[in-house]
């Protein structure tokens, strides 16, 4: 999803090969992308998350996922043996551009693709990659992330979920919170404590287990938006096989940090997915006078937000181009997360201002079941989840500005 929104410049690549590839992609998409999958996304229901219990919205959604997965194009840059197509960055850009050209929807969105995948590719064993990546690529297994705990939010490394070594297996006991879609996920990648004798960053391990394992319970949390995208997740004597430990035992924090930079880039980039420009929404709601939005104060604020949004999008592209293909952005991902989420909150406040009474409707068909208001409320979590804005500013202070005591 989000990766497709950035326009990369194609450099260094063999242009004639790329042109041939582009023609091939175009022809294939033309023949294989169902018409229905070329329509703008109208709501959450149009996003395909996959998984064992996934109910496809339509045949077109199912066919589109199957065809793209068969090409390896749900995860185009992953190696072929893991369900990808082994595309270069330049080829991936071509694919993204061609998809964008016909307005093709993303065939599959998943935490498996955005977060677990990069972590396994970097830290996983060959057997782990072969076991877990292809089902992610095909949309057969839906993953959730077990990170935060009731007492470990911004201070994630103080997590306490206990993982005991029982010889041939582990036993996990504890509680996670803010587990996105845990009630709908098939497997979880989870941070647990295997040792509590040293410093808090030490003794954390990264484990994988099936959500159907006895002792796992996910309870949805109702949010201010009235929706429940997150759960509280409880583990009581949950058995985890030893081969499902990723990376080095006690050093799960390295995996966690690597994965967090991917999460931050994702959240920071989310504001780019709002399709209709703010000023159009405002013009439709308030009207124009002499070609100008009829509320001059709001007009100024909208202009400022749109300028920031444009410049932020350029910064996303620049930072991703600067970090070489596949490389992590390091602490700059915190800068992007901070700026992108604060901007998104600002935009949604302005959207509420622009739509006035209409935007306040909560349950009507006219308001698409309160979409405007619910989205506005949902954005308030953007600057909390994945590290609060304050934590992001701390990270910039410490790692970029190198301020003392940060």
């Amino acid at each position: 999803m989000y990766m497709q929104l950035y326009a990369y410049e194609i450099e260094d690549a063999n242009m004639s090969d790329l042109k041939a590839f582009a023609a091939e992609v175009r022809e294939w998409l033309e023949a294989n992308c169902p018409e229905e999958m070329r329509q703008p996304i109208s709501g959450d229901k149009d996003i395909c998350w996959g998984g064992r219990n996934w109910k496809f919205q339509s045949d077109a959604q199912k066919v589109w996922l199957e065809r793209m997965a068969a090409k390896g194009w749900t995860v185009p840059t992953w190696p072929k043996e893991y369900g990808g197509a082994g595309l270069s960055r330049a080829e991936e850009i071509v694919l993204q551009k061609e998809m964008k050209r016909i307005n093709a929807r993303s065939p599959l969105d998943s935490f498996g693709i955005w977060m677990l995948g990069p972590a396994l590719l970097k830290f996983g064993t060959e057997a782990q990659k072969l076991e877990h990546l292809p089902p992610v690529a095909r949309g057969e297994i839906r993953w959730c992330q077990g990170y935060s705990e009731p007492s470990a939010g911004s201070d994630l490394a103080s997590l306490a979920t206990k993982c005991e070594d029982m010889g041939d297996h582990f036993i996990v006991n504890g509680q996670k919170v803010w587990t996105s879609y845990a009630d709908q996920a098939d497997w979880i990648f989870c941070l647990v404590r295997t040792d509590n004798t040293g410093k808090k960053h030490h003794g954390i391990s990264f484990v994988l287990f099936d959500m159907e394992t006895p002792g796992v319970e996910a309870r949805p949390i109702k949010l201010i938006s009235g929706r429940s995208p997150f759960c509280e997740t409880f583990f009581e004597d949950v058995r985890v096989e030893k081969h499902n430990l990723v990376g080095t035992r006690e050093k799960g924090w390295d995996v966690a940090k690597y994965l967090l930079t991917h999460e931050r880039e994702m959240i920071g980039g989310q504001n780019q997915s709002v399709s209709r420009p703010l000023h159009e929404l405002a013009a439709a709601s308030l009207g124009l006078e002499d070609g100008k939005l009829s509320d001059p104060m709001l007009r100024a604020k909208i202009t400022e937000a749109e300028i920031d949004e444009w410049a932020f999008g350029l910064t996303m592209s620049r930072k991703l181009a600067e970090a070489k293909a596949g490389a992590s952005l390091g602490a700059d991902s915190s800068m992007l997360k901070y700026y992108g989420t604060e901007l998104n909150k600002r935009k949604h406040e302005l959207m509420m201002d622009a739509t006035g009474h209409d935007g306040l409707e909560w349950e009507s068909d006219r308001s698409d079941d309160g979409k405007m208001a619910r989205s506005w409320l949902r954005t308030k979590g953007n600057s909390i989840e994945g590290g609060t804005s304050e934590v992001m500013l701390n990270i910039i202070s410490k790692h970029i500005l190198q301020l003392p005591g940060a």
């Binding site: 910064t315 202070s397 500005l401 301020l403």
Partner: protein, 379 residues
């Protein structure tokens, strides 16, 4: 746009960085100010800038330039911003060179471009008249007079107008105040009878001029571009000028920011280094983010100009609007975080605040460009 610099551009930036830090640091500006230098700039520096090729950065090779383009010009301007280097680079090497290259006859190009590239002529743009930037509000007039024109009116904020060997004057040959059509450009010798120039030393210790035009007779050859359609040339000149000023703002804002961060790592109060206080850390980190966003805006605007992007004007408005507010924030936070010494003349941070105040006003402040951005997007 990836907005990555090429090897050549990195080399140019590094060269400019060393050059201005060495030849025209902030102490040079202080010296010009304190000695009340009559020109307000250093001619030997200008000659060295010509030797480096900086003065000919947007001039084609046939006319003695190095033709490296607008991104290159912006990289030079950014380094000048970092050092508050005083020179007629903006007025002459950017604005006048672009105006003549875009609108000049072959005679005008041959006469002026090699002189600009060689550092032998200083040319100032006499456009604005009132307290705020308003090109279509031009009310100075140029009436037909024999084979030539007769110019009347007054101009303000003519950057480097006090030392110019030639002025590019915008005057109305048709239409009324507020029309963007009907404006024409003229190359005028400031020694012509009827031209009077008052040097105006500005808050940043740099110089501009107020210029009165009282029945100034110029020949038909003085016309730059087409009668009534000066905006065709001026539009491009202003886009380039705005992007270059945004680049200078980026340099000045970044330097103000970096010196502030360095200061709060040293200053102690309450037994602590003040940079340990989260109240300052978060504001500094926010500024870091804003400056990164601002840098992308500048690079994108300069790149759009080099690519003749149809949206170049919008990019330049975006960049000038963004830099106007971000650089201002950087200087304001800089003075505040310096505390008492931030108010003293001895520390440089105040000089950055003053220069940024002037630059954000030049060719339209953030409000002006926000309005332009909104109008271009039809709201």
């Amino acid at each position: 746009m990836g907005l990555l610099l090429t090897e050549d551009e990195v080399m140019l930036r590094d060269t400019a960085e060393g050059f201005f830090a060495d030849k025209a640091p902030v102490t040079s500006l202080r010296k010009l100010r304190d000695e009340r230098d009559e020109t307000g700039f250093d001619r030997s520096l200008w000659a060295e800038m010509a030797e480096m090729g900086f003065t000919g950065v947007v001039i084609d090779e046939d006319h003695g330039g190095v033709d490296m383009g607008f991104l290159a010009a912006g990289l030079i301007a950014e380094q000048m911003g970092r050092n508050l280097s005083a020179s007629p680079f903006l007025s002459t090497a950017i604005l006048a060179a672009t105006a003549i290259r875009e609108g000049g006859s072959s005679e005008q190009k041959s006469e002026w471009l090699p002189k600009i590239a060689g550092g032998e002529a200083i040319i100032a743009l006499a456009l604005d008249e009132g307290p705020k930037h308003n090109p279509s509000g031009t009310s100075a007039t140029a009436e037909k007079s024999g084979n030539g024109f007769k110019l009347n009116g007054s101009k303000a904020m003519v950057v480097d107008g006090h030392i110019a060997d030639a002025l590019i004057v915008a005057a109305r040959t048709n239409g009324e105040d507020g029309d963007s059509e009907g404006i024409s450009l003229f190359i005028v010798n400031p020694k012509t009878q009827g031209v009077s120039t008052e040097r105006t030393i500005m808050v940043d210790s740099r110089n501009a001029a107020r210029i009165e035009l009282d029945n100034v007779e110029v020949s038909g050859d003085a016309l730059l571009g087409t009668v009534d359609d000066g905006m065709a040339v001026l539009g491009k000149v202003l886009n380039v000028g705005r992007a270059a000023v945004a680049a200078e703002l980026l340099g000045a804002g970044s330097q103000a920011f970096e010196s502030t961060v360095a200061y709060i790592k040293e200053r102690k109060q309450f037994g602590s280094i003040i940079g340990e206080f989260q109240a300052l850390q978060h504001r500094a980190s926010h500024l870091y983010a804003e400056l990164e966003i601002a840098r992308s805006a500048v690079l994108a605007a300069l790149t759009a100009l080099d690519n003749d992007d149809p949206k170049a004007e919008l990019y330049c408005a975006m960049a000038k609007a963004k830099l106007g507010s971000v650089a201002k924030l950087a200087s304001q936070e800089g003075v505040q975080m310096h505390g008492g010494v931030g108010m003293t003349d001895e520390y440089d941070i105040g000089l950055f605040m003053k220069r940024i105040r002037v630059l954000q006003e030049l060719f339209g402040d953030a409000h002006y460009h926000m309005n332009q951005f909104a109008l271009a997007n039809k709201f």
